[in-house]
């Protein structure tokens, strides 16, 4: 299919580059999304979205470059200029920064307006009497068909502008005199990595790493337990360390031994003092001593320290 750039409509040119570029990047972005989810970042929330957009930059540059070079060689039969991917990506980004917010406003206003109009139509007495299912289908068809048409027009507008950027790049490209087969081989070879074993190793290593990350981050039990199956938080008892337990026990025993010894010493001391005092008082009034001993037969001895 030989088409000179001036003959190929910009929309067709834009679609020829953008459509395969979109699908080329998606498998890699899915992996990125999964990694973000595993790390607890949701790609639809600001932080996760920022990460996804940042990581998408090199992916998009590569995908756009690959698709554009293919179109240049196969469809336009031209040698692609240097830095085609980067050039188209920058221009595409500049276009998106301006176009997407505008398109969002237009589309949301179209949806709001068409919903309002459809709502007014549904308020007609005749239609109000219709069953719910019919009214839902008619209302949905009315406003969604208008919104879809507007979306298609906005998409065609974007493709037109992007196609213009691609067409501008053809001015820097040179026509190729090579045969069709040679051109096909050229775009075919840009897909074949120059160092295939290295790429294969990188893919395998990434796959192995992803598998480890996957099972590492995966919760063992369900993160959404059913109400009837919610388990109470059970704290595991601390692990027993035998050596520490033995050492503690030995310390306790040694302390107890020391205490017992101290008690015995105290008791011996007290007994010695008591017998001393007794022998002193025996020398002065043996009768008094005997009477004291008799008068207080039931009086227990003073307990020593440590004894109950």
């Amino acid at each position: 299919m030989t088409e000179q750039p001036v003959n190929m409509p910009p929309v067709k040119l834009g679609l020829a580059v953008a459509w395969p570029a979109l699908w080329t990047g998606i498998p890699i972005k899915i992996v990125v999304v999964l990694l973000l989810l595993a790390a607890g970042l949701h790609p639809w929330e600001p932080v996760g979205l920022a990460f996804l957009l940042l990581l998408s930059i090199p992916i998009d540059i590569w995908a756009v470059g690959l698709s554009a070079r293919t179109v240049f060689l196969e469809r336009l039969r031209m040698q692609p200029p240097e830095g085609l991917g980067m050039a188209l990506w920058w221009k595409g980004m500049a276009l998106n920064v301006v176009y997407f917010p505008l398109a969002y406003i237009i589309e949301s206003q179209t949806i709001a307006l068409s919903k309002a109009v459809a709502g007014h139509i549904m308020e007609i007495e005749l239609i109000k009497a219709w069953p719910v299912a019919e009214r839902i289908s008619i209302e949905l068809t009315l406003w969604s068909s208008i919104a879809t048409l507007m979306l298609i027009m906005l998409l065609l507008g974007w493709l037109f502008l992007f196609g213009k950027f691609v067409a501008k790049q053809t001015t820097a490209a040179q026509s190729s005199d090579a045969s069709y087969q040679a051109l096909i081989r050229q775009w075919d070879l840009i897909r074949v990595p120059s160092d295939q074993p290295l790429l294969l190793t990188a893919f395998t290593a990434s796959g192995v790493l992803l598998v480890f990350l996957f099972w590492g981050f995966m919760p063992v039990t369900t993160p959404h337990p059913h109400e009837q199956y919610k388990k109470d938080e059970v704290k595991a008892p601390p692990a027993i360390k035998p050596t520490e337990v033995l050492q503690k026990s030995e310390k306790l025993l040694a302390q107890a031994e020391g205490a017992v010894q101290a008690l015995e010493e105290q008791k011996a001391k007290e007994e010695a003092e008591l017998s001393k005092s007794r022998s002193k008082s025996k020398g002065k009034s043996p009768a008094k001593d005997a009477a004291q001993g008799k008068a207080e037969p039931g009086k227990p001895a003073k307990p020593g320290p440590g004894k109950p």
């Binding site: 299919m1 999304v33 989810l37 069953p131 969604s144 069709y180 995966m218 063992v220």
Partner: protein, 364 residues
């Protein structure tokens, strides 16, 4: 480097001498793909991959699942809450079934839009339609197995719809229910159909489908001169296999993401009284469910028309398609009837599915 063959090479030579391994390998891998390998051709391989994953996860689930009315719910909850990673296995199996339906629609659409059902590929198309029916059967039978309110009542509604078929409807409904009302017999039959009959049938038909496809060869793109198609011819290995593997990886990661973000959570155990619960089928049957809510399909005859006659006629039209559309033209942009028909059918399915979701607010 020694010229002596290694042990592995000796084994391969042994097998090759008796089986023709090298010839088989060449036949399988060196199939030419006219017009080059394409991402549009990956859907068939992806379907096979999803089926294998469903079989693997299904077998692992069967280690714990008990197909009896008394224990089905409890064993499913056990898988979710007690078995290590059981919640992920079940969720992967659940989302894998949805992925299979999406891929079936994508595959059928690609074949239809590329005119790859035309001569000499009529039989591939017919076997493919049978496979489509089996995939839908998988979804229908598997949905009952958790035995919660959603599963029980969605199946009850589905079987009652089947009852509307004239002549054989009553027999079919009673055969599936195993009695006058859904219960233990229903669960047993659905389980056997889901894990024995349908897998065996699918494997047989898938093998036939691939054999017929290899016999007829790929249809190739519908644009390009003979010279251009010849210049871009690839072989199945490695280009198309590489694309198939990337697509399989992308689908695998997508299913994993869905299983992670939205794991399966059961409703209450099935009871004879639906109570507050409004029965609803799985998302890929919602469009038909909503269609049956229209007044034109009310009453016995209306229900038969909407549930059996129209879908049956549509499937019959698809089956007759290769014999009605005999024009050799395959370019979709030069087949306006086919293109408009496909857009209308897809838009209709989407519209009724969304309507069913909106209708939920009006049920009370």
């Amino acid at each position: 480097m020694s010229g002596q063959p290694t042990a592995l090479e000796k084994i391969l030579a042994f097998v090759d001498e008796r089986v023709g391994l090298k010839h088989l390998q060449a036949k399988m891998l060196n199939e030419p793909v006219p017009g080059g390998s394409r991402w549009a051709y990956v859907f068939g391989s992806v379907l096979l991959f999803i089926f294998i994953m469903q079989a693997v996860t299904g077998i692992l689930l069967m280690f714990y699942y008990v197909p009896s009315a008394d224990h089905a719910y409890a064993s499913t909850q056990y898988i979710i809450h007690e078995v290590d990673y059981g919640w992920f296995l079940l969720s992967y199996h659940f989302w894998g079934s949805s992925a299979m339906v999406v891929m079936v629609f994508a595959h059928m659409s690609q074949v239809f839009l590329w005119g790859a059902y035309k001569k000499p590929r009529e039989m591939i198309w017919l076997v493919g339609l049978a496979l489509f029916g089996i995939v839908m059967g998988f979804g229908f039978t598997g949905y009952l197995l958790p035995w919660d309110q959603r599963a029980y009542w969605a199946t009850t509604v589905g079987v009652e719809i089947m009852d509307k078929t004239p002549i054989v409807g009553d027999f079919m409904a009673r055969f599936l229910k195993g009695g006058p009302t859904p219960g233990q017999m229903t669960l047993s039959r659905f389980f056997v159909i889901h894990v024995m009959i349908l897998p065996a049938t699918l494997m047989g038909l898938a093998g036939l489908h691939i054999f017929l496809f290899r016999k007829a060869g790929p249809a190739g793109p519908f644009r390009g001169s003979v010279e251009e198609l010849k210049a871009k011819t690839d072989y199945f290995f490695p280009r198309q296999i590489w694309k198939d593997m990337v697509a399989m990886g992308a689908v695998f990661f997508t299913i994993c993401s869905l299983a992670f973000i939205e794991p399966v959570v059961l409703l209450e155990e099935a009871t004879p009284d639906p109570g507050e619960y409004h029965p609803e089928p799985e998302w890929y049957f919602l469009f038909l469910f909503q269609l049956l809510r229209l007044k034109i399909f009310s009453g016995e005859f209306g229900q038969f028309l909407g549930a059996i006659a129209i879908p049956g006629a549509f499937m019959a039209l698809l089956a007759a398609l290769p014999f009605i559309d005999r024009s050799p033209e395959r370019n979709i942009f030069k087949r306006p009837v086919a293109l408009v028909g496909w857009i209308l059918v897809m838009a209709g399915i989407l519209m009724f599915t969304v309507s069913a979701i909106i209708n939920r607010e009006f049920l009370d």
